[in-house]
Amino acid sequence: MSDVEFDFAEILRSPLDPDPSDPSARPWGWAALLFLVGIVIGAWFVVATGDEAAAGVAVDTTAPGAPPAAEVIETSESFPEGYVAIATDVAVRAEAPVILGDRMLVPVTMVLRRGADATSVVRPLGGRWEMRTGQGVVASVGTVFDVFRPSVFSIEFPFVDPAPESVVLVERWDASPATAEVELAWPGVPFLSEEPISMELTEGTAVVITELELGNFLGGAAWRLEGTDLGVVELDADLLDEGGELFDSYASGSGSLDADAGAGTIEFFWAPGFRVDQDEASTLRLTARAELGIPVATEIEVPLP
């Protein structure tokens, strides 16, 4: 991921726009400008005269002393106040640690850069963090994600006393998407894979489905990565009819989110309309959607409140 600042004016300029260096384009620009000035003058004249006419009958529905929205979102900053950028389009804020026995969790919320397209910004898979205390450096032992809330996570440390004043991201795991697909003969339920199913993701990396079981209503899969230890995998299980058309799909539950485990599990649910006719399908299509981790060395300090 690059830290390059973009010139938005340049990006937003259409290739159909006249070249600003072309002198022949400028006179029409003056005409257009005056046209716009004319619009403003004309509109102002009508509104101003209209306001004067209506001034005597206006009803003010705004309560004195209660204007709306005291704190308005900053419009000139890329990220909200209090957030520290950890990538081009992503910033984080850490909260006071939560102590659970011998575990210390530092909750973190994430935000996107203003204007960033949430559908195109890839969330980092995680990273390695450190706490720096007067007694030395304490490395994180893991990260806890929330299956339903992808913008919050907790950094897990062993308990230390007193709590540090900041945490430092020392390695960020950027996500690189990769997909693979395989089709298998479908004998009906219950389906139990006889041997591991290997699917190449990129040159040198693959996901191996070590276990796959699909039943009438439930199912599950276990996977491991080869060629890398960083990444997460989701799996789609679609049933196809004899003509190759989609018959129906098992719904995939959320898979493991531990990006440095190199392996995980996925639950499946057969929920479409309580159908129990999976045996009429003839092909099982598995699609692995992986996010492979790319470690990026960083040194980003995030203060604790």
Binding site: E95, F148, S151
Partner: protein
């Protein structure tokens, strides 16, 4: 190419005519003011322009923007309708309404202050889009000095673990206090079914009454049965189920955060 002064004058006049016509059309399209007296609806809330993932309006706390939609006072009630807009990704299941609005930062405690200094409190939870204050019957919008959120909740992923022996009556709890108890163990010829009772400590915030978790051992299949006793089943679909099961909590702990954020009214600054 050259442009004469005449063309520039034509452009100016044409623009004025177009602009004046457009303004007159908009003015003419404006409905007459037939709103009820100012004592029932105030203050006026400006339209919010949503510019995903940020918004030009509302108040921000952490990664959530609270956008006031309307504020109505009358008949002993003050109602503020609001929307919560994330400054981040929402769940991967965006097409699934069940998970689409699961924001980790939510308002909880509210205060409405009247010009006499009286403070009226209200509480909202994760599913609420309206906060209602019980105010004196004779109060109208002009008496309202401010509406503020004084307490928030933050979803903290905990990933708490619980190890249970696979036997009836075995029980345990997650760090947030949610409990799991094994109700029945049904040994079949080729499988084992373990029926559990689970209870979420903060159902108002988790959005469901039972604790949600996954098993550390992928050999266990999980079936949640909302609204029933023995509301979770673990199924080991082979002979010889393990003697214990490790459960890992999926629900976050909802941590309260005190922070005074003015939604309507003037700040102290």
């Amino acid at each position: 190419m050259r442009t004469s002064l005449g063309w520039l004058v034509v452009a100016l006049v044409a623009g004025a005519l177009v602009g004046g016509g457009a303004a007159a059309w908009v003015e003419g399209d404006e409905p007459e003011d037939t709103t009820s007296p100012a004592t029932t609806t105030a203050p006026t809330v400006d339209p919010v322009v949503v510019e995903a993932p940020w918004v030009d309006g509302g108040v921000r706390f952490r990664s959530t923007v609270l956008v006031p939609i309307s504020f109505v006072v009358g008949d002993g009630t003050a109602e503020l309708e609001f929307d919560l807009v994330p400054l981040h990704w929402t769940a991967r299941h965006e097409e699934d309404e069940l998970f689409a609005d699961e924001l980790p930062v939510q308002p909880e405690f509210w205060e409405l202050t009247l010009d006499g200094g009286q403070v009226i409190e209200a509480v909202t939870t994760i599913d609420d889009a309206v906060v209602r204050f019980d105010v004196p019957v004779d109060v109208d919008a002009a008496d309202v000095v401010s509406v503020r959120v004084t307490g928030w909740r933050l979803a903290v992923p905990v990933g708490g673990e619980m190890t249970l022996p696979v036997e009836e009556g075995a029980a345990g709890s997650f760090p947030d206090g949610s409990t799991v108890e094994i109700d029945r163990v049904l040994e079949q010829s080729t499988s084992t079914i373990v029926q559990l009772d689970s209870t979420a400590t903060e159902a108002a915030w988790t959005g469901h009454s039972l604790a949600t978790f996954r098993t550390q051992d992928p050999g266990w299949r999980i079936s949640f049965r909302f609204g029933q006793s023995s509301n979770v089943q673990l199924i080991w679909e082979e002979p010889g189920a393990p003697g214990e099961v490790v459960l890992i909590q999926l629900d976050p702990a909802w941590r309260p955060i005190a922070a005074d954020v003015v939604v309507i009214g003037e700040t102290d600054e």
